[in-house]
């Protein structure tokens, strides 16, 4: 019999990027909030600049919960799903944001209206076959103040490209209009990044520094980035990388209205006879607890969000909580970020003390920023040239067909070329499709015997064509900058576990096609909300985190405003 703990106004499942941000406006409004987190507290002392531990021994996975329940994947329903690869997610207070790359982008206005804009400009037939894309139930303009609030609450550095219609080419000329500048200017560039920017300009493109949830100067009492070079899958020893752990959660704790329970493994969400949620079951070690709450917010990252709903069956919801319309798990997307391009330069790049969020961005080929009339796809990608290099990975670089990757000849090669390679991942528009979805795996279970998520999804023609087009552009950029060798990775097939997973609990006005309403609350269970990229209906050509956080902020502030309607 689970032990009942003191009821809270709101229980948030997961204190990661989205949940950790939503806690602040709720706590500041005086609501009692309990954050249930499967991981533990970490701090600066845990974040040594140690490549072996960070990148080869998977130190972030001290807590095995997420590893234990990592999804299976398959391309289509014609085959069985298998577990391929580990999960990149981390359980901790602050979540994967504790070690993530911290690129922190707003989506562009087009991303909110892909369906209607495509029909308007190119005609209905240009929507890819099988897509279930809809316009979002809100547009960029409505989300703008929440982007602004989160950028300030966590600390995002960047150069604005469009402040109230005034274009500034230090920033992104294609971005949606912002009310004001970023709280801090963008991170610095190295000499090589300046070179990449110059090369982009020579091609007629519009390079700018990418935004990051990383301090470029002292902010909110925390240090500026020290550029020590171990940011990639490393926590920040100077507290310049702004996960909720060091920004919104401490402020929420200060109000006295937030309680964080760590090592809490949530199993199911309870409902009453009317289908309203009543609280959450969780396990700490072998002890079972029940946390009663007026409102439940699910913020466990995309896979776990759908999974918890599917596992929470009841008389009111025989197919899983909020799944009477059969939409939980639907409209899933793994962001197309593969199809990487690599380059070898005939000179050193001086990249030892960089970080993945330090870089030059090109949005000229993102979204609908270019004419697609004669192309066979819609959407596009963001080109990103970053500065990131560590010793073991540098010594493991490709030899670009110039010989064996070990031995005496290789020693000469690496002595000369260790700082001369570069790699670019490219984020592309990814759309939802009818036959790309999440459900519960029939075979694999976690340590508690509960089924894990099964991903049934593959990249479609539209995304693959866009990916190939973007590889061409990246190669063009590299060559303009002086690269002498180029490699291209394959464009991919099966959508597997990814750091950028979207959908499964989509927001939309139509309750037959969406799990959540325009505010992020369930169409079926009014006091159930979901936070994270699982609510998003399109991916955009950039990282999801800031958008997931802005939506979470908006859901939380709406909850405060509409408390009576939702909670009572």
């Amino acid at each position: 019999m689970p032990r009942q703990v003191r009821p809270a106004d709101v229980v948030i499942i997961g204190m990661g990027a989205a949940g950790g941000v939503a806690a602040l406006p709720l706590a500041e409004a005086g609501l009692s909030v309990v954050g249930l987190e499967a991981g533990t507290w970490l701090d600066q002392r845990d974040f040594a600049p140690d490549e072996i531990r960070n990148n080869y021994r998977d130190w972030p996975f001290l807590v095995k919960k997420v590893e234990d329940e990592r999804p299976t994947s398959r391309a289509t329903s014609a085959t069985n799903a298998n577990r391929v690869g580990g999960s990149p997610m981390m359980n901790a207070v602050g979540g994967t944001a504790v070690h993530y790359w911290a690129q922190s982008w707003r989506l562009n206005p087009w991303d909110f209206k892909v369906a209607s804009e495509t029909v308007r400009r190119y005609g209905f037939s240009r929507l890819p076959a099988g897509t279930t894309v809809e316009d979002w139930p809100l547009d960029y303009e409505e989300l703008e103040p929440h982007y602004d609030a989160v950028e300030r609450a966590i600390g995002v550095s960047g150069n604005a490209g469009n402040v109230r219609g005034n274009i500034d080419l230090k920033g992104n000329k294609f971005e949606g209009p912002r009310d004001r500048e970023y709280p801090m200017p963008a991170l610095r560039w190295t000499g090589f990044l300046e070179r990449m920017a110059d090369s982009a300009r020579s091609l007629g493109w519009h390079p700018f520094a990418g935004p990051a949830a990383i301090n470029s100067e002292r902010y909110d009492g925390r240090a500026a980035c020290a550029y020590h070079g171990f940011c990639n899958k490393g926590g920040c020893p100077v507290n310049a990388k702004n996960s909720p752990l060091i920004s919104t959660i401490p402020k929420a704790l200060e109000t006295g209205n937030l309680k964080v329970v760590t090592q809490a493994h949530v199993t199911t969400i309870e409902v009453d006879r009317e289908g309203r949620t009543t609280g959450v079951n969780y396990v700490v070690g072998t002890e079972e607890y029940f946390q009663p709450a007026r409102v439940v917010l699910v913020a466990g990252y995309t896979y776990e969000n759908s999974r918890l709903l599917l596992l929470s069956k009841s008389n009111a919801y025989p197919d899983g909580l909020s799944n009477n319309a059969g939409q939980v798990g639907r409209h899933y997307m793994s962001h197309h970020q593969g199809g990487a391009v690599g380059a070898l330069f005939p000179f050193d790049l001086k990249a030892w003390y960089g970080l993945p969020a330090q870089g030059v961005a090109i949005d000229d080929f993102a979204d609908d920023n270019f004419d697609h009339s004669d192309l066979a796809f819609i959407g596009g990608g963001n080109l990103w040239a970053m500065s990131d290099r560590r010793p073991i990975s540098a010594a493991s670089m490709s030899t670009y067909g110039r010989g064996r990757n070990w031995g005496s000849g290789w020693k000469r090669f690496i002595h000369e070329n260790s700082d001369r390679s570069h790699g670019a991942y490219i984020q592309k528009t990814t759309l939802p499709y009818e036959d790309n979805y999440l459900d519960l795996d029939p075979t694999y279970t976690d340590r508690l015997g509960l089924p894990v998520i099964r991903i049934t999804a593959q990249y479609k023609e539209n995304e693959l064509r866009a990916a190939s087009y973007m590889q061409d552009k990246m190669e063009e950029w590299y060559r303009a900058a002086g690269a002498v060798e180029i490699t291209r990775s394959g464009l991919g097939n099966t959508m597997g576990i990814t750091t950028h997973a979207y959908g499964g609990t989509r927001m939309g006005n139509d309750p037959e096609m969406n799990v959540l309403d325009r505010w992020g609350f369930s169409h079926e269970a009014p006091n159930l909300g979901v936070l994270g990229a699982s609510v998003m209906g399109t991916s955009g050509a950039r990282n999801p985190t800031l958008t997931a956080q802005a939506l979470a902020w908006r859901t939380a502030t709406h909850l405060v405003e509409a408390w009576r309607d939702i909670a009572e």
Binding site: G401, R402, G403, R404, G407, S408, G409
Partner: protein, 207 residues
């Protein structure tokens, strides 16, 4: 799947496949390609595979057309690779007056080419290595290894490390003669060394 075809059919098939590789201005002359240790249609000694020392086999040729300035050798398996063929060896810049390749062409760039083929360069095989790597067909399947020799009317002057496609493109229009031989190979279950001429024998085995 074992595929055994008469040598004449093999040769014809190979010629067709070869034509698909290279476009010629005119029909090139055919010349003889042989080896002291290999024959078309017969098992290669295992020293030319990873079941042995994996050294490159000796080849000899005669009857090359006048005006041969460079010789190129490509060894391919048309039953492997996605898509086929799988390249086992690519060696070019062989002097036009060379009469063959000795066994064991060096695979380490620090070791010099034998004097009679000085200047020869190796391109990247299917594993991306500029060296000979011999047959390793899956299980006990039997594959054919096409050693194709091309006589060119110019010196290509290519650097080492070129790919097959790059070499074929450079050769285009300059092939004045060609010859080939097609030995076969399959791997034996462990402990059974049945190939005559194999340099290593496990104690206790016959032959």
């Amino acid at each position: 799947m074992r595929v055994s075809l008469p040598v004449s059919v093999l040769g014809a098939l190979f010629a067709i496949v070869l034509m698909a590789d290279v476009v010629h201005a005119q029909m090139p002359a055919t010349f003889i390609v042989e080896s002291p240790t290999m024959r078309t249609g017969e098992m290669m000694p295992r020293n030319y595979s990873p079941d042995g020392r994996n050294v490159s086999p000796p080849l000899s040729w005669r009857g090359l057309p006048d005006g041969t300035r460079e010789i190129v050798v490509i060894c391919q398996d048309h039953g492997a690779g996605r898509p086929p063929p799988w390249v086992h060896w690519l060696i070019y810049n062989i002097p036009g007056d060379a009469t063959g390749l000795p066994e064991g062409i060096p695979f380490d760039p620090a070791d010099p080419m034998p004097s009679n083929v000085m200047g020869a360069a190796q391109g990247n095989n299917g594993w991306g290595l500029a060296m000979y790597r011999g047959p390793a067909p899956p299980g006990t399947s039997l594959h054919h290894y096409h050693f194709a020799v091309f006589a060119l009317d110019i010196e290509l002057g290519l650097p080492p490390g070129m790919t097959r496609d790059e070499v074929l493109e450079a050769m285009d229009g300059h092939v004045i003669g060609e010859g080939s031989m097609v030995p076969i190979y399959s791997r034996q279950p462990a402990g059974r060394d049945t190939i005559p001429g194999g340099a290593l024998r496990r104690s206790g085995s016959d032959r």
